[in-house]
Amino acid sequence: MPTFTPHTPEEIKQMLGFLGLDSISELYSHIPDSLKLGRQLAFQGLDSEFDVLSELSLTGETNINSAICFAGYGAYDRLIPAATKQLSARSEFVTAYTPYQPEVAQGVLQAIFEYQTFITRLYGTDIANASLYDGSSALVEAINIATSLRGSKKVVLSESIFHNYRQVADTFSKGTDTEIVTVKESDLIEDLERFIDSKTAAVVVQTPNRYGYLVDLEELSPTISKHGCLFIVVMDPIAASVLKPPGKIGADIVVGEGQPIGMPLSYGGPYLGLFSLREDLVRKLPGRLVGRTYDLDSKIAYVTTLRSREQDIRREKASSNVCTNQTLMAVTAAIQLSWLGTSGILKVAQNSFSAAHYLHSELHKHDFEFAYDKPFLWEFSLRFNQNIDKIIDAMLEEGFLAGVKVTEEFSKEEFLVVAATEKRTRSEIDSYVNALVKITR
């Protein structure tokens, strides 16, 4: 039985003696016997860290981890430099708790302050929090702000936001009694007024949307603000480096998934919920916020601030219950964005763009059919007259994760959403196209 407890038999005896006890079981003597398990837990342990690593490696190798990734849909296979990996693995960051004692937590606090700055610069907003769980939880919190601020319960969601985000919003709307109305994106663009009434708290749009193409936010924002609704935008952070910053063109709250800025695919988590908003909404901000101040010696210091919003102070009056968030991922993002810098993030965007457009044109040459003929960045949707699950399975055999299947909510039509990042090489793309040709013809 390996363990990390340092107690020697002699010490245990000594400590029990100090407590006037004869045995460890007496520590539990005030617990009614009827409640006690009275047997050992029924599962098989292993004998050492080496056994655990070898056993779980065997399990892990049954994942098809050699497949080259053309899937995206909010989770992107991007380059992560060694510097980001090594710095974010420093044990001072990894094994710290929430910075309750700022005097000994300046490392995490300052890194989060820098992270907050980066996120507002990307999104064109004023304030960003210290992170939420993931993209979808960020969306939920945005919706909650809108309904509580507006005192109304209806929220209009574009159908073209990631369907899993929509599902999460649906789930939590049952607690807050929010009415979530899903509208076709084209209908929103054509006649937004039609979907806004006095009970509408917010309109939510994503760009690039879940099919990969771009949505013109500026077409929507005047109407939304005219009605006093909140304009909530979901945007990928790398896309935000090249697209008009939503916060500057009418968005009140901008959220997104931070995975693409420094986190491995990690089978979906831990990821990073990006959350930012206009300054005047700050008292509604969910989660933690780091502010800059001074210490006793007038030295610059960082501290979590506006804590009176938080659940541990406001309890049932809090508008969010988030406590543990994804700080380490926010620190990682700060490191990654520092490494990328102004020129690097543009290059990531540009290289991904070139790769995806090269892929697009190669597919075009082979007469594959695209679901939409609209401007896109590094992700687009393919239409097939074959079963898409089968295509994905067949492509796996060829060594590719072909993309993510999505179903249009209203037409029930299915597409394959395909992404190419700065990590995909020309030869990978060429082989992908060849494999897809082989499989579908």
Binding site: P2, F4, P6, H7, M15, L27, H30, P32, K36, L37, Q40, L41, L53, T62, N63, A71, G74, A75, D77, E92, V94, T95, A96, T98, P99, E103, V104, Q106, V108, Q110, E114, T120, D126, S131, T171, A240, S241, P245, E257, L265, S266, Y267, G269, I300, E310, Q311, D312, A318, S320, C323, L337, S338, G341, S343, G344, L346, N351, F353, Y358, P375
Partner: protein, 508 residues
């Protein structure tokens, strides 16, 4: 307020080299910027550039590139390395932060979480491509159910609070199906703040039940507020006072008698592994904080993982898609018949789940029991050792943590819980949790955890003795502590009054 800590170098930016062990502030990364300096380099893909502007209309695009920062890799590595030296952590010393279970985080779990075969998997891959991941999840679910005495679990919630809300939505869905009309949830006055906040977000109202003189739920108070409107109760056991709720069976009967459900906040599970199980106490829903009990590192505030396990009658309501093992040995996803829906963008904080499984398998059933035993032993030892300096708020045997009250000390000497906390920082310990739970005055909540040795506990106790002794001699001096930390006591009021939450709002 002086700005002397940021010294402008004539080059324009700020200098990269800040004292290692000195006491200057570290500039922000933005102050290392210099136009055209750079750090990044990207893969040569062999693809011709297709200019974004050539293919996307200007109306979509930024007029000017986003301004992040322009630093060298060398300066950026040094900056974040120096920041790490300004941060306390478990790896540097004891962290007896009550309710947070800051135990040692095994290094082999880091290695586990960095295995490519797990780390590089896309969450949208079909089940056939992720059999290993699904096995990890199914195995973990089963073991967590065995540990808690429940039937099935969801691994999606990313932290305890999200687990709480998930649990409340499960309650709601179940009550709805049973045609129960209920609008309140009972919570003890000692509860953690996330409990009432979750209740509100779950669409319920909070009713507070009092704590009796023994530190347990006051049964009379409970009976007095109990009625058919009660959807359930949220409890921790051991509770946030570190005390075992000995009347839990009666509490369960009472709640169940009005068709209410019992929710177990698993933050304190570290006390009872292999000893008692929430399911056997009568709980219907349990969340676990894997980042507490199962030692997944807390990362300075997260990530965590908050799986929710439920009893048989609630399994059809669990979130989905849910990894399952089919009869033929294949792993797949299933959406439970009455699922409340999806909680997480994907499958939860997967790498955190993997770490927890590794930790559990390493220890095995006996190892888990050992964890709880030693955690409880440490807490009781510390309680008794400190008796004469700062007594416990409730003089009963405790479980894995102990809440002391400095109320008497404070009245007699002026030394506050906060002063002790800050002075401890100066001695190289992290502070305990202070001023929580709210019902204890001048609360100091110590959770030593099982990985601290007797030597460390003794050093901690001696440090506290010394702080109190010194404080009695010179109260003003102790109010000035800490002195050996990267910064000294921080002006929190100023931070809130004059909010500076980004580098760009400095000097606004």
């Amino acid at each position: 307020m002086s700005e002397t800590n940021i010294r402008k170098a004539p080059g324009g930016g700020n200098a990269a080299s800040i004292p290692l062990m000195g006491n200057k502030a570290e500039p922000t990364i933005f102050e290392f910027t210099k136009t055209h300096r750079k750090s990044s380099n990207l893969l040569n893909q062999g693809i011709e550039k297709i200019d974004i502007r050539s293919a996307v209309a200007d109306k979509y695009l930024r007029d000017e590139p986003v301004n992040l920062v322009e630093v060298s890799e060398r300066d950026m590595v040094a900056h974040f390395t120096r920041l790490s030296h300004r941060q306390y952590s478990v790896d540097l010393g004891a962290y007896p932060l009550g309710s947070c279970t800051m135990k040692y985080n095994p290094k082999f779990c880091d290695e586990l979480a960095s295995l490519g075969c797990f780390k590089n998997m896309h969450p949208g891959a079909p089940a056939s491509a992720v059999q290993g991941w699904l096995k990890v999840m199914v195995d973990l679910e089963q073991i967590l159910c065995e540990i808690t005495g429940m039937s099935q679990a969801t691994l999606q919630p990313a932290a305890g609070a999200q687990g709480e809300l998930t649990g409340l939505l499960l309650m709601k869905a179940w009550h709805k199906d049973q045609d129960h009309r209920k609008s309140t949830i009972i919570i003890p006055d000692s509860a953690h703040g996330t409990n009432p906040a979750s209740v509100t977000l779950g669409g319920y109202k909070v009713k507070t039940v009092g704590t009796n003189e023994l530190g347990s739920v006051d049964l009379e108070s409970l009976k007095s507020i109990l009625n058919e409107d009660v959807a359930g109760i949220m409890l921790t056991n051991p509770n946030t006072l570190g005390l075992f709720e000995e009347d839990i069976v009666e509490v369960a009967q009472l709640i169940h008698s009005v068709n209410g459900l019992l929710y177990y906040d698993g933050a304190n599970l570290n006390a009872i592994l292999g000893k008692v199980r929430p399911g056997d106490m009568g709980f219907d829903i349990v969340h676990l904080n894997l980042h507490k009990t199962f030692a997944t590192p807390h990362g300075g505030g997260g990530p965590g993982a908050g799986p929710v396990a439920v009893s048989e009658r609630l399994i059809d309501y669990l979130p989905g898609p849910k990894p399952v093992l089919l009869d033929d040995g294949y792993y797949d996803f299933k959406i439970p018949s009455n699922s409340i829906g999806r909680i997480h963008s994907w499958h939860g904080n997967s790498l955190v789940l993997l770490r927890a499984l590794g930790y559990i398998l390493f220890h095995g059933p006996k190892g888990l029991e050992n964890i709880s035993e030693m955690a409880v032993l440490n807490a009781n030892w510390l309680k008794k050792r400190l008796e004469s300096t700062i007594p416990a708020a409730y003089d009963r045997p405790v479980m894995h943590e102990v809440v002391l009250s400095a109320q008497k000390l404070s009245k007699e000497s002026g030394i506050k819980a906060l002063d002790i906390a800050k002075a401890l920082l100066d001695k190289g310990f992290h502070a305990p949790t202070v001023y929580f739970p709210l019902l204890v005055h001048e609360a100091l909540m110590f959770e030593p955890t099982e990985t601290e040795s007797l030597d460390t506990l003794e050093e901690l106790a001696e440090s506290i003795d010394m702080i109190v002794e010194d404080g009695k001699k010179d109260l003003e001096a102790i109010k000035q502590l800490p002195k050996n930390t990267p910064v000294r006591r921080v002006d929190e009021a100023l931070a809130a009054r004059k909010l500076i939450a980004t580098f760009d709002s400095i000097g606004d």
